[in-house]
């Protein structure tokens, strides 16, 4: 499964594609089973450059009923920095955060699709 992520243009905050718009919550993110649908969402997102920058697809997997990014890097983006648990999305401390943290050991760096060097 794939999700589409980017950073908000005005704030830089990590955002996730949610059926035609961007959400700051990973849990709201739309998941794509088919590559074609994911690519179409990416193409659509790129027509909205005033809202988000540097959009790209990531791989996600089901982890005991919670979706988490496969790439360790993407987990950090979706959570916040590990040295400051009070900063970033992890500060909300919801079930997704716990799922991310519990699934730490299965992280992979290869879950960033069509890696863009920024």
């Amino acid at each position: 499964m794939k999700m589409l992520t980017a950073n908000s243009l005005t704030t830089g905050e990590v955002v996730f594609w949610d059926h035609g718009q961007w959400s700051v919550r990973f849990a709201d993110g739309e998941r794509f089973e088919a590559d074609e649908a994911a690519d179409a969402a990416l193409a659509l997102a790129e027509t909205q450059p005033k809202i988000a920058v540097a959009a790209y697809l990531i791989d996600v997997e089901d982890n005991d009923g919670h979706w988490v990014p496969i790439a360790f890097r993407e987990r950090l983006r979706a959570l916040g920095p590990s040295n400051t648990p009070q900063h970033g999305k992890q500060a909300d401390g919801d079930a997704d955060v716990e799922a991310f943290q519990a699934s730490h050991s299965s992280a992979r760096s290869t879950g960033r699709v069509k890696l863009i060097k920024r």
Binding site: T11, F72, L76, H87
Partner: protein, 551 residues
Amino acid sequence: MYRYDSLDKEMLTDRSNEFRHQAARRLSGEITEDQFKPLRLMNGLYLQLHAYMLRIAIPFGTLNTKQLRRLAWVAKTYDKGYGHFTTRTNLQLHWIKLRDAPDILDALAEVDLHAIQTSGNCIRNITADPYAGATADEIDDPRVWVEAMRQWSTNHPEYSYLPRKFKIAVTAAEKDRAAIRSYDVGLHLRRTRDGELSFEVMVGGGQGRTPYLAKTIREHLPAGRLLSYLDAVLRVYNRQSRRDNIHKQRIKILVATLGVEEFTRQVEAEWALIEGADIDLPDTELARIRAAFMPCAFDPQPASSPVFEAAKADPEFARFTRRNVHPHKVPGYAIVDISLKVPGETPGDASSEQMDLVADLADAYSQGEVRINYTQNLVLPHVKLADVPAIYAALKPAGLATANMDLITDIIACPGLDYCTLANARAIPVAQSIAKRFADPERAEQIGDLKINISGCINACGHHHLGAIGILGVDKKGEEYYQLSLGGSGGDDAELAKILGPAMSGPAIPDAIETLVETYIVHRKDGERFLDTVRRTGLQPFKEAVYASAD
């Protein structure tokens, strides 16, 4: 310290206004991200993992207290109330919003601060000895020369599009506290036998994927000819360097490819064509800059202070004096290091409250001056010995009195994968886990000087090549792994660390460090630092110990 003149101030205001318009055009959709990105990077604004990051230049690592308070205010108002001091003596704010960036640049410009040339293929912020103007072992204040270079290199049209970034560091002291041989150009100011100031010019150092220590291309450059000689170096580089291969664009590759003799020959030939009088600063201008760095008068003090000596009855204060207090050129004064390395905290981070406190202490006790050390610590450069106990008492409740300079817990770490888009692995949690393991200050002091430097990727912002123990984060089949290397130093005994063996997982690192330390203690001879023992014995005993215990 040097104050910007009207030209400098005008330039900063213009740049800030220009950026406000550029940002507005980007936000309105008038220009694309591809068009805007180089413009924001020219103003130190990067897009990192969680937000925009602003890298603010701190030339020669010197701040007045108005500037430090402004940095604290910006961090509190526009970020999350803290900043991260880097190995280039810059300050990075990691949670910046694009919409706030123009206001931030305005606020910085008001106190002569900016983020110009903190990104891009230009001459970056030039660093210097953090004890400049205060240490007894220097023959001149290196900041005079750095300021001359700052004026020359800022917005220099010929060097705004170099093959790659270009970093310069300067010292004028016997002891190298600025890691000068690890930069594109390292300058060591000395006095010749006939009393003239002259630079040893070293070129082609650098870390990253292909590390080199800079090589001397001129033993004695008359100091007044510095700018024209640098012009010659940069012109040879600009003309000859590979622009087609990102791994071969730094000057270190050019020096290594041509060989130091041929590179030197080309620089000297180029220099002969340059009309020095057009470029080198006239003595009057140098004198003007020099006057700006003249310290305030130092009140005469007795060489020793009964208050200072009596305070050493507190063993913790005594340790602070052993590790963080250094001789000053004026009797009765001291240089005081402020550690940003509390075991378990993020190396190099300072909260707005901490910055404000340091500014207050600098105003009260240090002629209103604060320095940034490339080791990610702060310095109060001009302190009366008698005032050190009061400073210590004020620092301690603020978490700023850790007595660990150059010890195993004084770890350099880049932001790593917690913040940086380039990183392969996290650096901060590794530093935290090691520092917590060795948090007992008595034990750390028994182990003695031991620099651990950690980088989250091969770009080496955490100076892992220069650590007595260097740690490099790598991506091994998708997991965070860490490669250890030993024997590096950025100081007078500069050497690049050598890889110890296969990389290991993050949780294994504190045990591996423990094993390295135990091995050192078994092998060390009287007075040997960890680095000395490694260099004497070679890596073998350390390798055997680490990898035997890992099996």
